[in-house]
Amino acid sequence: MSRRARLGVFGVSAAVLASLFVWALTGLPKFGDFQGEYGRILNSVAGSERHVTNVVAAVVFDYRGFDTLGEEFLLFTAVMAVALLLREARSGEERRTDVVRSDTVRAVGLFAVGPTVVVGLYVIAHGYLTPGGGFQGGVATAAGLVLLYAAARYRAYRAASPKALIDFAEGTGVGAYAAVGIASLIAGSAFLANVADLGVKGTLSSGGTIAILNAASGLAVAAACVLIFHEFLEEVMTPR
């Protein structure tokens, strides 16, 4: 096709797309006009029903807790696949050297390790009180651990994340989530129903099973990220 013909086809397609786009835009509700009745209802009842101050956590770990169970298993499966594929292919001794050479990166890395881990744990712990939760805090905690690597402290990094402990933490986190659901069944309620004591709203001991599930997913996500990050780092470091 000649350049002219291509430009012509593009011109016609772009014009059609643009007109459809404008048509769609004119039919949209006004900016900020929220039409989801479900969200409005949850915002008004979640605080009194579940004794939490972060409604998102109540949705993720309670009203839609079963969805999150699926996500936990999805993450677990992905992590196990990465570990199976990469660990199998990379047999032999781990190379215990520091590959980060830049002094600036090392200094910043070392400085950032503590604050990042603390922020991560804080975000997990206060998941049902303030924005955040197991997922966000879990990734941040894992990032803090990997910063040890950037600080050129390979031994410290490995000491903080031994393979056996990380594998165990990953399994425990996902297993604990499912176990809470089964515990609800044993307590004579529906799967993942909030059967625990709801506690005092606004304190760390509130939310019932939301608090437990939040901690379980924090553990699972942190372990999953450390595991994936480690396998990828080893891939880069191991010459083939």
């Binding site: 972060n54 924005p131 941040a140 990828f232 891939e235």
Partner: protein, 78 residues
């Protein structure tokens, strides 16, 4: 739409353009992280702090990490 929201949305648009304009993969991965930060500020401005935190950890920690290690591995191969 308040002016702050307009600014935040405009920044996201500029960030997206910058990602496309960066041709070198390593540079693009870095710009992508910055683009994620513009999205984070948009979510904060729109009062969605939970989403902002998720976007923050995904776009500045998890995604660039995977990209950087993949790029480093590819450089080894060459």
């Amino acid at each position: 739409m308040i002016p702050l929201q307009v600014v935040a949305i405009a920044l996201v648009g500029l960030g997206g353009l910058a990602v496309v304009a960066a041709r070198d993969p390593l540079r693009q991965a870095l710009v992508l992280g910055l683009y994620g930060l513009t999205l984070v500020s948009l979510f904060v401005v729109l009062q969605a702090p939970d989403v902002a935190l998720s976007e923050l950890v995904v776009s500045t920690v998890a995604f660039p990490f995977i990209l950087f290690t993949a790029l480093a591995k590819m450089r080894d191969r060459r």
